[in-house]
């Protein structure tokens, strides 16, 4: 079991991710996704930003191929977090492959806070990942079913909650100079590449830049 400290760190993050699942469900519904498919995406993809990308590109009339490509590119960053997590996840390849589905930005950062960035604490990563999975799925379901009743998520600022969540996760990991250098390298890469290559490539390149800049 993860430590009490890890669980209390995870609780508000799970709540925020659940809340952000609501506007995803609303957007998916507005883009013409049936509720069952909206929730099924959360249960299989379980990667919020790429789900937002998929439903918004399709909702804007984009081709399915373009929607899948941009959404999948957003997830290429999980090659890096999945590689770090694979070092500590228990069991054989199949079990680790299954558990790796719970390794997302938030559970990886929580696990790294209890262990190290290249060897995150396995229990914390898995348990917080499972809680995030439940919260994200529940939020998506609420948004998909009750979107019209809830109104526009922007009026309550839910669109600002996602970047605020990333910011709130970022500052605690800036514990030493290499981490700060990596954050700045990633930010600079995103600023330069987003207008040129789009978000997915910019994020993957930012992850790579962070890796290169991390000399301790």
């Amino acid at each position: 079991m993860p430590s009490r400290r890890a669980l209390s760190a995870a609780a508000p993050i799970v709540a925020a991710v659940g809340a952000i699942g609501v506007p995803y469900g609303v957007l998916a519904e507005a883009s013409g996704f049936p509720a069952w498919l909206t929730v099924l995406l959360s249960m299989t993809v379980f990667a919020g930003s790429s789900q937002f990308a998929l439903v918004s590109v399709l909702g804007a009339g984009g081709s399915p191929a373009a929607a899948v490509a941009s959404a999948a590119l957003l997830n290429t960053r999980y090659l890096a977090t999945g590689t770090a997590a694979a070092r500590v996840l228990p069991g054989g390849r199949l079990r680790r492959f299954a558990l790796a589905q719970l390794v997302v930005d938030e559970s990886y950062v929580l696990g790294a806070a209890e262990g190290t960035a290249h060897e995150p604490d396995a229990d914390t990563t898995i348990v917080s990942g499972a809680l995030l999975y439940a919260g994200w799925t529940a939020g998506s379901l609420v948004g998909a079913l009750f979107g019209q009743v809830l109104g526009d998520p922007e009026t309550v600022g839910l669109d600002a909650a996602l970047p605020a969540l990333f910011v709130a996760l970022l500052f605690p990991v800036l514990t030493d100079r290499p981490a700060v250098r990596s954050a700045l390298a990633g930010l600079a890469t995103a600023v330069v590449l987003t207008p040129l290559a789009g978000e997915g490539i910019a994020l993957a390149a930012a992850a790579a830049a962070g890796l290169v800049a991390h000399r301790g």
Partner: protein
């Protein structure tokens, strides 16, 4: 729509699990993986604040995130940062 959803699900599951199927990376590279989380979180926050052309937009959302940055920098608790960001964005829109 269903085909697109299935395609994204399969790709994402493979991407997330790839690290578990491949051989373990050497220690030197693994240590560098420590740079991925800070770089990702900074860039993930940034790409939420750009328009369709990839240029940053200074709107109510950005103002909310700016407040979250100051709070996070001053070591405010996680929930305070997120709620303050949302409340500031909503408040400015309501004006």
């Amino acid at each position: 729509m269903i085909a697109a959803a299935v395609a994204l699900a399969v790709l994402t599951i493979l991407i997330k699990g790839a690290g578990s199927l491949l051989p373990e990376v050497p220690d030197a590279l693994a240590r560098r993986l420590g740079g991925v989380a800070p770089a990702l979180l900074a860039s993930l926050a940034y790409v939420e604040l750009v328009d369709d052309g990839g240029a940053p937009v200074l709107d109510e959302k950005a103002a909310g995130v700016a407040v979250a940055v100051v709070l996070a920098w001053r070591r405010a608790p996680f929930g305070v940062c997120v709620v303050a960001g949302a409340v500031v964005a909503a408040g400015l829109r309501a004006l």
